[in-house]
């Protein structure tokens, strides 16, 4: 059952897609240099920055996992949003790390890291950033497709195409990816910024409209009583929730602080800003959006719980609820909003991980400087290859547990070490390459080990006992300790090794 009307809602979605694609393709003529392609010539101002940052960090996957958090944990599930908003406000206000980073004129974080730790550390940092980032992004397409298939209400799972049975989910994933990849490959960051702006407006109007509808027709009292009945005090306070507690809160604080400092798609907005003050303003003024980012879909998730009760797959609860709750006409806007959210996220993510591959992983192997034309061509090929990887990884990887935890763990692979490296390179002259390698090793090894334990039948129970929060905290703590200890162990110039 769904309220989706192919004629009316389908036309709204079609019109949105047409305008976005046209705008994305139009600005490709301004791309003449690699800098234009990767950081939009560093000409981005505050309001475009706010729109782009907000649109990038809110995709269908975000909406799905934050709604799932609301469904599973009540209001306590919105804790990461508060942690992220506070981190962004503090970092934006003080300029902690982001000011020296933007002032240095680099394109990526590893480029700054090289200045203190050398080219090998830059290369290793690039590898963990891409590894963590792509593993993280690998599930975006599947979840986006899952949302669309559910909300549109496709009853059959596959259709016949030239004699082959093609799944609707897979077809949705492919169509989404091809659309996004086309304008990202041609226009780079410029297309991303322009489409991000349009997507921010469409996405926000849709999110606000659906939230008002939920608050009016489901009602605040029902939302609160549902949380009370299902989770008691823990539904309002993460510290007393039996599945969350202080390890969850501490992990969220560490994870979100590190993400605001070093998540390449977030920091790319600071690096594309016209100066460091503009970058700081973008952070300060966007910070509260991150509360909305968790709380608004969280309320949709709670409303799904209030309306549907307990369902087998918590991830599907919110789209199943919206499919029959949102009326015809508004349904088109809602789907256009979600498509907008997803396209802006996918395009930005493909571009920024591509920029690290080009700049930091391939960079050291370039014996002579490439022409701007060749540089842009290589960047376009990298973005296309990332798209192909995402398609196959999304189809292959079976997601277990809740999505936010998976994203937190895979993100930690690089967030833990790169945040330590960035802070050290900005504020600790004594930090050196031994410390950097130690930090990268521990930060990557602990989450990867946890994922392997979780996927291996013999150690699955052990992974469950440890839990994702303790392993996440361990990654941050050991990464920082490794930087400190190994930096002190490395002999100084003039000392006997």
């Amino acid at each position: 059952m769904t309220n989706f009307n192919w004629l009316l809602d389908g036309s709204i979605v079609g019109l949105y897609l047409l305008v976005t694609m046209a705008a994305g393709l139009y600005v490709r003529k301004y791309v003449g240099k690699v800098d234009d392609f990767l950081v939009a010539g560093r000409e981005m101002n505050v309001y475009l920055g706010i729109a782009s940052l907000a649109a990038t960090e809110f995709g269908i996957v975000t909406c799905m996992y934050t709604a799932e958090a609301g469904y599973k944990y009540g209001f306590a599930g919105a804790t990461p949003g508060i942690a992220m908003a506070l981190s962004m406000l503090v970092i934006g206000y003080t300029g902690f790390c982001i000011k020296p980073l933007r002032d240095s004129g680099v394109i990526t974080i590893p480029q700054l890291i090289e200045k203190q730790f050398g080219p090998r550390v830059r290369w290793a940092a690039g590898v963990v950033i891409v590894l963590g980032g792509l593993l993280n992004m690998g599930v975006f397409l599947r979840i986006g497709g899952q949302f669309l298939v559910t909300i549109v209400g496709l009853k059959v799972t596959s259709f016949n195409l030239f004699g082959y049975q093609v799944g609707y989910l897979e077809a949705m994933m492919t169509v989404l990816l091809v659309g996004v990849a086309t304008y990202t490959i041609l226009g780079g960051m410029l297309s991303v910024l322009i489409t991000d702006f349009l997507q921010f407006v469409v996405m926000s109007v849709g999110l606000i409209a659906v939230t008002l509808l939920v608050l009016v027709y489901v009602g605040w009292d029902k939302i609160v009583t549902t949380v009370e009945a299902n989770y008691g005090a823990g539904g309002f306070n993460p510290f007393v929730h039996p599945d969350l507690g202080w390890p969850y809160v501490l992990f969220q604080v560490m994870l979100n602080f590190a993400a605001v400092l070093t998540w390449q798609t977030t920091i790319a907005r600071v690096l594309a800003a016209k100066d460091s003050l503009t970058g700081q303003k973008i952070y300060v003024r966007t910070s509260f959006f991150f509360v909305c980012r968790f709380l608004i879909p969280g309320i949709w998730g709670i409303a799904a719980l209030a309306t549907l009760g307990q369902v087998t797959n918590s991830l599907d609860a919110m789209p199943t609820f919206l499919a029959t709750f949102v009326p015809v006409g508004l349904m088109g806007l809602c789907i256009a909003a979600m498509l907008a959210a997803d396209m802006s996220t996918d395009s930005s993510y493909m571009l920024t991980w591509g920029s690290v591959i080009y700049n930091d992983i391939m960079g050291p192997f370039r014996k002579e400087a490439w022409s701007e034309k060749k540089g842009i061509l290589i960047n376009r090929m990298i973005v296309a290859l990332i798209g192909v990887f995402l398609l196959f990884y999304g189809l292959w990887y079976p997601l277990e547990g809740d999505v936010w935890t998976y994203l937190g763990i895979t993100g930690t692979i690089y967030l833990a070490s790169i945040s330590v490296l960035l802070i050290s390179s900005c504020y600790w002259k004594g930090a050196n390459s031994w410390g950097a390698f130690g930090s990268i090793f521990f930060a990557a090894a602990i989450p990867v080990m946890f994922l392997v334990l979780e996927k291996t039948p013999g150690t699955k129970d052990l992974a469950k006992q440890i839990g994702p929060y303790y392993s996440g905290i361990a990654a941050y703590v050991f990464s920082a300790l490794a930087m400190f200890t190994f930096s002190l162990l490395k002999p100084r110039k003039g000392e006997i090794a």
């Binding site: 301004y30 706010i50 702006f197 921010f200 926000s204 606000i208 309002f236 509260f288």
Partner: protein, 42 residues
Amino acid sequence: MRYIWLILTITAVVWYTFVTAYVAFKGVTDIKEMLKKLGEKD
């Protein structure tokens, strides 16, 4: 605790509505300026 979430929800909806309208208006100027500068560079 429930009142904290009520206040936060109201603030989120009001703030988000205002910021969407404001950014939609001011963002257009930013785009025009950015494209103008990039055009001049070329």
